[in-house]
Amino acid sequence: MILWVIMLPISTVAHADARNPKTVEDPTIAYLKGLSIEALLKTEITSASKKAEPLFDTASAVFVITQEDLRRTGARTIPDALRMVPGLQVAHINASTWAITSRGFADWFNNKLLVMIDGRSVYTPLFSGVYWDVQDMIIADIDRIEVIRGPGATVWGANAVNGVINIITKKASETQGGLVSVGVGTHAQPLVEARYGARIADSADVRVYAKGFQREPFETTDGSDAHDAWKSMRGGFRADWQTAAKDDVTLDGQIYDGEADLALDLSGFVTPPYSRSLKETQTVSGGHLLSRWSRQWTAASELMLQAYYDRTHRNQVVAEEKRDTLDFEFKHHWDPDGRHDVVWGLNYRWTRDDIVGTWNTSFDPDSRSDNLWSAFAQDDVMLVTDRLWLTLGSKFEHNDYSGWEIQPNARLRFKPSADHMLWAAVSRAVRTPSRSDHDIRVNLASGADSLGNVSVFRVEGNEDFKAEELIAYEAGYRWQPDRRFYLDLAAFYNDYERLRDIQNGSAYLETAPAPPHLVVPQLITNEMQGHTYGIETLATWKPADIWQVSASYAYIELDLHSPNTDGSLPPEAETSPKHQFQVRSYLDLPWQLHLDSELYYVDRLKALDIDGYTRIDLRLEWNPTRQWAFSIGIENLLDDAHTEFDDRAGVNASEVPRTVYGQATLRF
């Protein structure tokens, strides 16, 4: 590599300048001069003051989905895009529902993943999970999605136990002009996105957008209509100002409305029929407003203040939830001498809900207001110049369910040379109890014996439910010998304590509602514990400028134990695929054509009786001019339909079908 850098200036200089032998050829400048203008435009730069940590130097298992990845894989929703992340398990449950998991514990209501959009946390404190059907935006306006598998670094918020997904949209200055995109296809027809961005004043830009789509239902395993059609509409804006005093102000907001059909199989009723199949419609609506101010105070010091308000209203048939959230955050980034890089911050979040329950699902109390206070501090210390860094940090949090929680971590980065990076980390992460863990009541199943005595199995929340704890040991290696090849390996060993589990309680008689019935409580407890371990690998290769290939493999083993499952493995141990494998190819063809393909293999989910499946997606795009882009694609080429997950919370799983779609985009 060094040799190449020395040869380059010799070949570009027309003649040696004998008059000025003191001019030393700077190797970095020489390298940059050798790049084409296209390559220069793609070069990542760091501003003098901001210390942007390129992906290569991060001491975590991180993967970045770029805008190019989003376009090439034809992602039309965020969950579609997440499939390509090594180690992430993305299972489509029905047309509007996904189970997205990092490093085990797959579930619709997976509670160990923190998801943020532009700094706003989008997980619901109701069950510490994400409603993927309401997180959406114009895909072309996403700058990148950063995914960290493993406990988020100290700077991230609560819940980042097994991963952090951070969706970052482009600044308003980067989305100027108009964009209109229309898509049609089987099951996703139509989809319309429109955006217009303009400069409204000196250094102030704004964009406004709207997106709407309608999806037809999938099918059930016996070929009938799965009753899971889905439609959604949203509109929003983002405005950015950059004042002369180096202030950056951002304002962003969105409102949305949607509905999704649900086919439910509910049980737990005290009168026959004890099990009922329902075809209902769930409605969702809400919005948010976020404001952020940051200033480069001195060359070494940057401040950030952020506040947002979020409102959701969700009628999920079994319960109806209205929630308001207010969040305030302060962050200070201080880089005094190049040896220490300190980040610290404070956060306060208030959330209030109003839940109208049904017989099936209710919360006690049905309205609650919670406060979350947290502070974090982290120092990234360069121990050996340009070779070895140690990051020490911790988050301190007080929540209304489990009180004080401390989450420290230590990370080490070692760069023996510019091409190799080794890292290791030890962290303690905590999954704080959610409202469900403490307050939920779900009548899960019921039946009558031959004498007509009714028993109801009821999941009961536990006020003493404690936070789940994780101690994670991780390590990784990255190698980038040149611009054409990249290798990323990560391994983890997670030690869990106090995982959520269900314990049979002693039955009691309940007289209301009539008829009197026996209640067999299923108490939510912290009695499961165990280990998980695995590896995630990724290799990216560019054999030519026009062709990029990536391959990734992930392996996970879950060894969980609970006193409540009589010695056999608890179901959570087998809801994750042991192996996942994928290959992606991006090929640029002549006549402005691009051919992209992905192959995904997901191993079987033993506990849910879901077979392993292979999925192939293909996409062809044509860019006749800078303004127009046309694409057609097929998802699930090989397969008519397959299920990816099981029924959850009464909602029936559908078969994910083969989809053919086309999209036309105009930029003006």
């Binding site: 300048d17 940059l32 435009l41 390129p54 000196d202 060993y493």
Partner: protein, 189 residues
Amino acid sequence: MRPISIPRRWLALAVGMMALMLVWTQPARSDSFSEYQVKAVFLYNLINFVEWPEPSFQIAEPFFTIGILGPNPFGRELVHTVANETVHDRTIRIVHYTDPAELDQQPCQLLFVTIGLDQVWPELCSRLANRSILTVSDQIGFVDQGGMVNLLTTGNRIQLEINLDNARQAGLNISSKLLNLARVVSQVQ
């Protein structure tokens, strides 16, 4: 296979890892570049994509002059970039201006403007008239206020903005290869 049991004293583990590291002797090189290194190289590259009319060069002085109007943001980067380089057999030199009036005594072919345009535009405009000088900057709004090429830092990349009409008015011809990579604005300002 039963996983080995790892002690909970994770700090001890981190220290243990440090002890295992070997120190290599190859120097580390940064994988991202400083903003002004990349902009300096951009300026140098721009010269190859723009055609100046012949009379804009003074016959007596065989130089291609890059002027910087305002404080110098490049440090030594621009000097290193153009060192030993020539354009059509003319050596590239860098001249610093603090005032647009200096353009009359010592004209240039490419002018990088670092002073805020709103402070200096009327004066600058009159000096640029009847001269074929390519005006370049890295300030937001430069091409909408009369400038020709802007190297805008967006996120952590550089985005090119070009006002083609402003350039044409000065007699400059910009290659379509460059225009295809830029956000092109066409209104005369």
